[in-house]
Symmetry: D2
Subunit: 351 residues, 4 copies
């Protein structure tokens, strides 16, 4: 559900990510849903499963639909598709009206639209990972040879250099980047199953039409995944790896920033209302908190696998309750990590 | 973090609760923060720890502050208090300026303001619990003697009546209501610790001032709890019990609504975009999903107990990341449970 | 499920607690099950619901049963009760045989026996809490006035004394002790519901018999709780509070033990196979790990609330999968916390 | 920690897996540790970093060590390696003694030994996946064309055949099998970092020696992963996918087995102590419970990513607290799923 404390502006964007939030906003989601419906009508026309005239009228109605005019009527249906389809069909003669959404089900539209949004989000995150990677490379180049006490089990171990630690950070980031193409591949698939997942259209054109839909949306076509949710859980897993890695960086920074340890100097830092002398490593702490939060959510998201019968309202809702928040948290964490690492003025053993 | 998919309006209020959301909104939170700052100035005046003249000027500045004029400057400090205090002091002579927030720290203001908000939320939830309780009482009165097959381990067990099942629902709701006063008592305490939790003011008036603050806000005064977060975790626990109980009701309803079982008839029900004949038990499924989601969040919130030293930014943030969302989820679940149970037209073995 | 790595002896008792383990062992659990069956036969005799002669024979068979002779036949029934009852009835004439377990169901026996075991566990934990409390009191008496830098958000805040921190530890422990009587009260109830939770016996003696059973076992009698699992979730919640509080102590100690901070000296400490100069704060780290682990399990246990119909095999099993491990983890954590705090030789700012 | 209720035998092997348990047992783990130490000595000899004579004596001592003679002394060091190394060196002259474990640290030995155990476990699970796959193939062949009502959102949707559902099961299992090689590849790496992760040996032979170690153990050599724990979290993720998929199968079966629905007939089934007419779908319920349990644990395991500095005792312990239990749960679930699906006598709409 929504977290109205963290979204109320009083915490700035510490626990938000406007870019990710935008990708999940109503206009963008509706745009994606409309794109799915429109591409599907084209696919139906091309495969000859609807009359071209009806198809053209339907297509015109869908592509000229003003998403801003749409108010999700109610929470009655559990999702906006039935209501959206009714709006799209409004005022059309029976022929074109019946073309719209023909052979699709709500899940096809929501899942596919969500995939398009998630791919947008991954683009954003990918850019931030590259930015962070650059910052870390610079950090190692500038400070890598400075001495640093290695610490194991919270105890001084042996003298080393900053490279030892920053290399691990870089390696973690690299390892997450390396995993991204596969995660992207797994989720970049259309969902076309129809009412119960059979992908059946009169004339046996279900699969050809689905192929056209996939092609038009730049997605791949695999088996129906209405109840096979591994790709969504896999994406959540990648979010936990990313935020977990950033949590390690945050924890390391917070520990180095301690007085007595004094291994890092950060530009900026949070002010205290009671102690003006303090400069709190807010972003470092936030990275740790977000990491634990996202990890915990994965424990819930993974239960979406228990997706009974041919569509589970409960299991499906678990994805919506967790995945968008995990995406946004990951976006915020990547943003903060970049800012934090760029704010490192000095790193290594004190004078 | 925020969940921008569920807050975008396309799902109606299925995963939101406007009343709870309002309690966490910026104006309400700022009102509570201002109330804390004002009551504290009064306490300082009354305990003689500030000049009355300075105090009066400070109090005037605080009580006439327009919360709508305040834009949380940035996420730099990790919370809005330093910025808010700077605003409150703006344009004041040094004397009155120094009175504002004297002896308090950001955590005192945020924790206490959050307590006031949480108490508002509990009032709302309490009302909904009573409403649900009434609906269930009526349900049992009207249908309690109808036959119903008892089922254990998903298998028909022995013939019984509707009372057997609805009594359990009632007993669960009753049990949650019974726990509420204690939960309320535990959280209804001011947080006054000052910079590091010593609650020390020149002249030894820290405790008397804290008592006055507590009295003015209708809260109790206990030991400083800046790092003793049991009350917050306890509240989260109560949310898991409430949503868990409602999840059981939802699961029972969804199972009874199956064709072949046919033990319940609901008025309304969600429409399908592909199968017009369907009436999906959306609210029942949502109750189950929310229950699992809130339970999972408790597993994260509970880690806020690991609150190192005299204030942990990470552990504290874990509370903000989970508790408001859990509160709102509980509010939504109670709303849905009331609607769902009121929509039961028939319950019991099929004709 | 079992964790065969941590139980294999190679980690000593770092992640085990022999006392708690014993309470969940087969002989002890069987003893409790037998105690339930025997007390129930007595209750049946006293309420006149069985022939005294048959009852006496049944009682003799049950009370002389050698638990060591019992091998839980298989995992076929999902729990040992059907098999145990068959063993108890073996060789008896039909009359006495039918008295054994008459009117009970497996859940009655397992739940009540588990309550008896959990109460034993709470006794053990209570003793350890008292021991820890004593150690902490001594610690404060001996070192409370030593200087210590207060730290907030991982940053030096203001000079203070050891009392500030140790008082919080003591207050946490005290707060957990204060909650124990209520937790104990909540769980200390017999489960007597019979096949589907109606607690019905011929002659309407279900409730009187249940009262006698409760009295004989030193438990209270409340409503049937076969599907109302708040007390079990509440117990898990208390485990998370305890381990969370100890996790805070562990985290504080680990941070104080850092070189550069040097605020604590521990007697003992773990050796390193590569760096003989190290003394690792093993127990402190373990407390943190256990705290996170137990918190996470609570997120799973709480889902046992979604206990569908009149008995959910899945939801019930979730309790077994989590609660005993949480209990044992809490036992180990309390043991380690006592050892760790007793090993503090010096605490406070370095020389 | 250990779960002494589920390991006490009274629940049979419902929540255990003897094969997996064996892989984590002390003798097997010690065998793996010894194998690492021995292969390392060979690598040191071959790279010329130790005197061959000393190396041969050391090697003889290690390879003839009787693991059964080893009792992990205590929980003092947090892991058995320091104590094991001391035993291995016992009675040897200084030269050979210093060869043993030279340049390694405890984490190198534990991590690498654990990898060897996990690979054994994956072999077992792989075999069970294949077995399950065969059972499902047969199931579809024998019953695929039987009619079955498709159900979405717990409501009858449209008539279909058994194939629709069983194909999803098969596709899920296939999808998990497809992921296995990559999971295996990721974890099948030696950990060789030495004291602080530099993999440095006099003469610069750290990497060549590590290569030889990897080759001897049949593992790959990648960067040091002492604090880069993605592969462990990835393995846990795969466990959640597997158990989640089996949880879906279990949930489907339990729903089909309901009276009124009657879409499945199972051979066997659990007996009830109170209702002899019942045949409870124990294994189906257990699959659901295990799925939720493992998912929740993943939420904890993922926090092991927050692995501060050059070795985190807390984060590392989180892996031990979760991963072996998740492995064993997965083993049990796969075993049960095979048994359950093989016990399906009839599936599809009732006569």
């Amino acid at each position: 559900v929504t977290n109205s404390l963290l979204g109320n502006g009083l915490f700035g964007a510490l626990f938000c990510d406007p870019d990710t939030a935008l990708a999940f906003s109503a206009p963008v989601m509706l745009d994606h849903m409309i794109a799915v419906e429109a591409a599907w009508i084209r696919a139906l026309i091309e495969t000859g499963s609807v009359e071209t005239d009806d198809g053209d009228v339907a297509l015109h109605a869908v592509t000229t639909f003003d998403v801003w005019s749409f108010q999700a009527a109610s929470d009655k249906d559990g999702l906006p598709v039935p209501s959206l389809v009714a709006h799209l069909r409004q005022g059309l003669p029976p022929g074109p009206a019946s073309v719209i959404h023909a052979g699709l089900t709500s899940q096809d539209v929501i899942d596919t639209a969500l995939v398009l949004t998630l791919l947008d989000v991954l683009d954003t995150l990918d850019g931030r990972l590259r930015g962070l990677s650059d910052v870390l490379e610079r950090l190692e180049r500038d400070h890598g040879s400075s001495p640093l006490m290695a610490r194991t089990r919270m105890q001084a171990a042996l003298p080393a250099t900053v490279s030892l630690r920053v290399c691990t950070w870089r390696w973690l980031v690299r390892s997450l980047q390396d995993r991204l193409p596969e995660v992207r591949f797994r989720i970049a698939q259309v969902q076309v199953g129809g009412a119960i997942g059979l992908r059946d259209l009169t004339g046996g054109v279900g699969s050809p039409a689905a192929e056209r839909l996939a092609h038009a949306l730049g997605l791949r076509l695999g088996p129906v995944w209405h109840t096979e949710r591994t790709s969504m859980v896999e994406l959540g897993h990648w979010f936990t790896l990313v935020t977990g890695a950033l949590g390690k960086i945050g924890q390391d920074v917070a520990l180095m920033a301690q007085q007595g340890v004094d291994e890092i100097t950060l530009v900026g830092g949070g002010g205290s209302s009671a102690m003006p002398h303090k400069a709190n490593p807010i972003l470092a702490e936030t990275l740790v908190a977000i990491a634990r939060h996202v990890a915990g959510q994965q424990g819930t998201l993974a239960q979406a696998m228990i997706h009974e019968q041919e569509r589970s309202g409960s299991a499906w809702a678990l994805e919506w309750l967790t995945l968008p928040a995990m995406a946004e948290a990951t976006g915020a964490a990547l943003h903060h990590a970049g800012t934090l690492c760029a704010a490192i003025q000095r790193i290594g053993a004190p004078g």
